[in-house]
Symmetry: C2
Subunit: 77 residues, 2 copies
């Protein structure tokens, strides 16, 4: 992958962090995925090591968990 | 401020996140501060809302806590 992927679930912490990440690395460099709505991508996020949202998966595959919003268990409900 | 500030305390989680942040936003756009060594800046970090390290304070003053490494209480010892 060449872009980062920002996974979120629509919570207020997520939305705030999303704006910060876009400001920092540029909207062209990050794909935004709402796994609260787009539930088919939950499995992909978990495979990438996402344990809570918001989280940023970098192009080299590292996962940065940012300001805890919700656990994956909560997102899966 | 125009640069982000990345606060860390030298832990392995911090060092890994530091490399990711530099790759993502560029070393020219972030000041790296090791508050484990440079203890005079602990107070500044706390004022910026840093509760754990590693953390990134953005140019607009938001604090992004990244992959929990150590609490400020642990850093202060």
């Amino acid at each position: 992958m060449s872009k980062s992927i920002f996974y979120h679930a629509g919570c207020s912490v997520c939305v705030s962090a999303e704006q910060d990440i876009i400001n920092l690395i540029g909207s062209n460099n990050v794909e935004i995925v709402n796994i609260g709505e787009n539930r088919t991508r939950i499995q992909e996020a978990e495979k990438a090591g996402v344990e809570s949202v918001p989280a940023l998966v970098t192009p080299n595959g590292n996962t940065l968990h940012i300001n805890f919003g919700a656990s994956m268990a909560d997102v899966k409900g």
